[in-house]
Amino acid sequence: MIPFLARRLAWTLLVLVAIGLITFLLTFVAPGDPARAIAGRNASAESVERIRHALGLDQSILAQLAGYVGRIAHGDFGHSFKKDADVLPYIVARLPATIQLAVGGLVVALVLGIPIGMHSARHPRGRVDRVGGLLTSALVAAPSFWVGYMLLFAFAFLPAARLGIELFPIGQYRPLDLRYLALPALTLGLGGAAYYARITRTAMLDELGLDYIRTARSQGFAERRIAWHHALRNAIPPILAQAGLDLGFFLGGVVVIEAVFSWPGIGKLAVDAVTAEDLPMLMGTVLFASLCVVLANLAVEVLIAFVDPRVRLDGSR
């Protein structure tokens, strides 16, 4: 157990260092002059030079890298000049909005996806399976910004602008308010639901064909009980693994959906950083998102190792 954890942690660290290094180097290949970008388009040549010197941008790449690593090690993600704010506190302040959306989206995905997948597996090529298959293919294929705009148009814009009924607000945020969370979570969840329905269907079909299910059937257990109590329990690990990875991925910011709904989370922050050419903030969000994904991977691996005795702790199956 300890060597397994140590090895995974070492890997995690290595991945993070590599990502950090790449984002750092990106600032050198990105077009434009970082000092000019910070000073703004209107700054005089002297102010640009003053800022270049103040930030050490006139030092060698190696000296700058050393400074960058030192700051990151101290938890200093840098300063956004486009927002006149420190990067890390800014990202952390955006975390609650992103957590709500990530959890909300995941709940929608699981609540819709698992029952559809279960039903499809129990009645393969039945009506639900076929309609569900088509629908899930469409939803997996549909870009989330399109789904988001369609939901906004149908459930928020049309009722309010044409009928004067305010069902949902258009692109606004209020913490812990379901009316505000519903549409973005649904947009995130619909794509996810389709995916979970497929994973559930595949895993369940595998399980339902196994000997212990036949044994259970021969003992006269009800089909529903066999499916939900016996088979699902064994089909859970891949779903759990995916949910864990998704959560990590979402916590790094749901870029497109946050932008569509003006949801003030980390994904929106990243989009704004790109459009504002705010390099320190962009580097911060990329590092933060990477951290979420890498940690979620680690957590899922450890969790699976605990939940599923078939996975040995040396990391192999």
Partner: protein, 571 residues
Amino acid sequence: MRRALPALLVTSIALVATACSPATTSSPSAGAASASSTPATSTAASPTVDVTTAPAAAGGGELSMAVEGDLQSLDPAICYDTNCGPLVHLLFDSLVAYDPNAATLRPGLAAAMPDVSADGLTYTFTLRDGATFTKQDGSALRAVTAEDVVWSLNRILDPKLTPTPSPVGPAFFSPIEGADKVLDGSAATASGLKVVDAKTVAITIKAPNRAFLNVLAMNFGSIVPRELAGKDTTAFSAAPVGSGPFYLAAYTRGEKAVLQRNQAYWREGYPRVDTIEYRLGVDANTQLQQVQAGQLDVMGNDIPAGGFTATTSDPALKDQVIREPLVATNFLIIDSSGPDKALADVRVRQAIGLAIDKDNLLRVNNGRGTKAGCIFPPQMTSYDAACDPYPRDVAKARTLMEQAGYGAGFKTSLYTDTQDLSKALAESIVQDLAGINITVDIVQQDFDVLIGTLTTPHAAPLTYIGWFQDFPDPSDFYDPIFSCAADVPGGASFGWYCNKAADALATTARGNQDEAARNAQFGDLQDMVMADLPSVPLFYPDVAILVSPRVVGNPFHPAYYIDLAEIDVTQ
């Protein structure tokens, strides 16, 4: 001020302070009529509104506005775009301010327009009684003093501000006597900034320049309380305190700012509404939908091109569209002194001016704008509607090309930013130039990269870009872009142009205290530049937003971009 949308360039370099030309003594008056036309859809107030008299109707209520981006800063030393600008304007006061919906100046924190010394160099301001800084709980901090004024203006120049000094402010305030010593760190206060008594400030500038009053009216000229503003702009941006018509009651970065009415504001009856909710990071398409759904009052960004025709032609909405000209001119810049010998020939530049179909450019631009004959846009006091030396005349253009020895044409490049609209406009220009045998490639660069190109001498033969005012004075359309001082590496010279005679005339015009004579001199200056044609004025762009039916008044302002202090809402 820089527009948040990268369609327009705004750059400024130090205003040139050259030889003195003593002017007659007079107090600059705020009463000069604006040349601005009143657009049909606007409810623009008259520039002669008496701002000290309360309006008849009671105010109150809540108003919401949204902008696409985040706030750059709420510290007046840093803020320089159209997202934070309208907020800084509401939170702070400056010595002088603009009339409602007009580019004319009136007293702000000063009780009256300043006394100007006979040499035109020293401006003496007396602060009004009753102006107080308001804390974030709405209570009064203390009265604004002359020391605050001197401290605030020195702060803009301070090289020790953290995390960086003001990037743009010093260029505007360097005309103050002794500013250079503050800028290089050898003095803490500029010799030209003096506290006369608790209520009186004297400001001395290096050379007569009437536009200095416009500089004082910029957000950079905001007066801040010295014990709270300190040296750290990040800290002050998070909790700004000023003496403006509103105070910042709540602020979630990247999400929204909530402003409450300053109950003790010196201007009786103003501001009109009690609360402003200023939402951040809301896409312009979403803003458009929110207004239609009754969830937003004022769009802070242009109606997006995709929704423009549908919105402006919808009978239910078209009365809610507010359309105004920006104080801006879009140009085709021509490198007039670069390695390209053809473009260095004035006849070729004039031929280019004659060949361009400006009507087509406006069609491509969705009809948003007015054809530009000359440099100064219509809201400028020096605007000359008759000035149009290069109306489209392809035959005459071809003759000029022949005379210059380029009848067979030549090849060159046109630089612009990466927006689709800029490309479409550039293509229209390319087509026109093909008509006089000039073959042009289009080079699109990311806006920041393009600014680098534009400020590097002779890097681009032709450039399509806009110039948006820093302040509504004609000098801002000459000094930063056409003067010899701009014709240096890092300057924003439009065409790497330097005409000593024009510079001399600009110096005289800047210091002239007589409004009419000054405008005439700027008119002559415009004619001189137009004859040399280092840049072809193409059109004066418009801005169009949608407001909710609750909004009473026109939120657009030629200097502040959007001014919510004058706006009422119906309940």
